[in-house]
Symmetry: C2
Subunit: 246 residues, 2 copies
DNA sequence: CGGCAGACGTGGTCTAGACCGGACTATGAC
DNA sequence: GTCATAGTCCGGTCTAGACCACGTCTGCCG
């Protein structure tokens, strides 16, 4: 292991434990450390890298609950079997999702309006019933083939002026982040199998009653405040959802 | 806040930070702390409870990445908006899943055999192609209605004698834990919408070509070793999958 | 030779300090 | 009144120790 070179320093804004974590991650990805191999003990790493044991632990604990390492009290810390991939339970936009799959994403805006909120939406978004919501419906394409219809609903009051953006070009998440300083933290998805109705079938270029995945997602900010409620219909023949559980 | 009473002690096997975490969790659940309320600072909690700040932080950090609290540097630590529920990305058995939904789970064993592994299964389970696998197919019922067909595959070599258990009565996960000392840690699921074929339709009491959710799950132990590969078919009209993303 | 006790190394927990940069507030200069 | 500034409190990071329970190895004793 080449971990002993260049002791981490607190020069830049990058914390030391992040640097340690990065080195270990790289060592695992490069195959320098193989699955089930024991890595140096916390005390060894501490003196090897010239940082305190608590700092080493901060890196190790993070890697353990990312699934990259596992520990056995009294024995040591070991490299977990599977390769570190992008965590599949990460919150990602359609655009990011497609790029990860090696597909070329595109969007066409089907509807972009301000309407009074029905009761169920108002409840989910924690706003007054009838309060205005921005509704953005988009056809999502992957490699120029229709893949999904996604309809997002956001409280108009909280994000005024949202209607003026062109969401066929700009990611909704990017706009929220850059224009409204909203950081998306968690989302709860409800997933079910269903059949396409006539309208969906026409837009998605499917026969009627074709199998589709219906996904409802409530996204919340770091404060736990609801940001958007999305209803999406994905073509069953061209989309697989991947999820990681712990 | 009644957090100052009964300073935590290291009497039992429960770590102090767990006790602190538990108190805060209860205070939030009981409504003693309301959403977006600022909780005492780390230094205050430290002197209030008579434990060091690092120990307080260990509890707070855990609650933050469970989504119960959020922090703002320079301002303080606040209660997140949503109630703490069971984390939806938790790995749970069919039995637990149904009980959580308030349904009465039951199982009927359709097949329980040892067969040579096809190539794709061998690859996923990281065993030699053709090596024996235990195949356990079960019909899953909720409130006496057929809900899903679940077929689990496990390496026979690693879990010898698995075939002798009655899996209509016993949870596979319980048997693995108690008889083979296997702790299940992570699982990756692939979810897609599809149509039932004739055989599935008959067993699940569905018309042919009815929408179903097909789920493939690879479960791995703490060491990252594959334990089981499950292929499940859920009735689209009676099952919703819930997932939480971060 | 078999078995047991102790030594040793490991991760897990905990302490009592420290410094940093961000976010407020009160104070004062203009 | 407005604006800069210094002080103060906040979470975030880091240190250098400490004790514990657990697993493993070793060497001694019967």
């Amino acid at each position: 292991m080449s971990l002993q070179f260049e002791p981490p320093t607190r020069q830049g804004p990058t914390p030391i434990f992040e640097q340690v974590k990065g080195r270990l991650t790289r060592a695992i990805e490069d195959g320098e450390l193989v699955p089930h191999e024991r890595i140096p003990s916390e005390r060894e790493l501490s003196s090897l890298l010239g940082v305190s044991r608590m700092t080493v632990r901060q890196a190790l604990v993070a890697l353990v609950d990312e699934g990259a390492l596992y520990t056995r009290a009294g024995k040591g810390t070991f490299v977990a079997d599977r390769k570190i991939e992008q965590p599949l339970q990460r919150l990602s936009s359609f655009t990011e999702d497609m790029i990860e799959r090696g597909l070329r994403p595109a969007s066409r805006v089907l509807e972009q309006t301000v309407v009074p909120s029905p009761i169920d939406l108002a409840e989910a978004l924690e706003i007054a019933p009838g309060a205005e919501i921005v509704r953005i419906a988009r056809l999502r394409l992957a490699d120029d083939e229709p893949l999904a219809i996604e309809t997002a609903h956001l409280p108009h009051l909280r994000y005024p002026g949202l209607v003026r953006f062109d969401f066929s070009q700009h990611s909704l998440y990017d706009v929220l982040r850059t224009e409204y300083a909203v950081t998306l933290a968690t989302a709860r998805q409800t997933i079910e199998a269903s059949e396409s109705n006539a309208e969906e079938a026409a837009v998605l270029d499917l026969p009627r009653r074709a199998p589709v995945l219906r996904i409802t997602r409530l996204t919340t900010s770091g404060e736990g405040r609801p940001v958007e409620l999305v209803r999406a219909v994905y073509r069953g023949d061209r989309y697989q959802l991947k999820v990681e559980l712990r």
